[in-house]
Symmetry: C2
Subunit: 202 residues, 2 copies
């Protein structure tokens, strides 16, 4: 871990992170132990601490980063091309599908709750995720506006922030209740209200 990783080392490290992500999703951060992760990934205590010398927190952080990247990836290519209303609906469907499939398994939320506000690393990961996510949505709003589908007066950043908050809340409520009603409502209502400002529509 001090020098560079050999290909074999990289593979093992990757296996640990991915396996840990699975275990954490299934058991929850509060319950999952290093031994669960060790068992799932077919590794040993020695390896765990070889690749993550700072222990569990460091591993959780790596998993958090992995999951954060996944969140955005799973929304592509839709999130990157929000330039027509149809594209927005396709994106909406992708988001809903992704989280419905995931079920009530919270990765980032509870992961963050565990690593906590104490560590600056965890916070940085979430902030960065939110920033990228919102920027993509904002880009979508901007292209609608520039394409004449929205008036020039629309506040791009506020709109993107509000939509992102709706998604986050919808997911959160879904994790708690098991129902995706709110996630759907947030997206449908948000897009509908936005579209109501389209000068091209009556």
């Amino acid at each position: 871990m001090r020098g560079v990783l050999t290909p074999k080392g990289q593979a093992t490290r990757g296996r640990i992170v991915e396996g840990a992500a699975e275990v954490l999703r299934e058991l929850g951060v509060a319950i999952a132990t290093l031994d669960d992760i060790r068992a799932r990934t077919g590794t040993s205590k020695g390896q765990l601490f070889h690749y993550f010398p700072d222990g569990k927190d460091q591993l959780l952080l790596a998993v958090a980063q992995y999951e954060a990247d996944q969140v955005l990836e799973d929304q592509q290519p839709h999130l990157g091309h929000l330039d027509t209303w149809d594209a927005w609906y396709r994106w909406r469907d992708a988001v809903v599908a992704r989280y419905e499939e995931q079920g009530d398994l919270c990765q980032l939320g509870s992961l963050f709750a565990q690593i906590g506000r104490s560590t600056p690393g965890a916070r940085a990961i979430v902030i960065e995720l939110m920033r990228k996510w919102q920027e993509s949505i904002a880009a979508g709003v901007r292209s609608l506006r520039d394409g004449g589908h929205l008036p020039a007066s629309v506040d791009v950043d506020e709109t993107a922030a509000a939509l992102l908050a709706g998604i986050q809340g919808g997911v959160g409520i879904m994790l708690a209740t098991g129902e995706s009603t709110h996630l759907r409502a947030a997206l449908d209502w948000g897009i509908a209200r936005l579209r109501a400002a389209d000068p091209g529509i009556g």
Copy 2:
């Protein structure tokens, strides 16, 4: 605990719940121990298990219920009288103020993450909170509609669900980032977009 609590017992039990809520807010559920709670509330291990025989989970559940009640209380009287646009803005201010004051201390979210989906009790508390909250918002939308401030075509439940999701997400993002931008955006944008449908306005 088997029979009825004496006044003294009730007081102690209440002290434990409130003190536990404080400790959990300050330290986070993952870190706080029964001993922290014991120290803060000036009680003993014996008392903790006297009033909560099923141990930590039962105590956490009681705290969750306490916090859930608090959430709605702190929004009153505004949440109960959302019949004019001005009333909506006052409510918006109350919500933002409440959560800004609370800072990045998540009670319910991480509390729920700890007790987890395993226990049906925790889930029930959150579901009930969401139900009540949304019903209050829906009542507000309904009175706007009945007062002629919104067209009859407005979907009351979807609107309420979307607004609630926005708040939840805004709070969640605030807990992670420390910024209330998204909470404000969700409320401001939501109310503004709703108001844009007011036939009494241009």
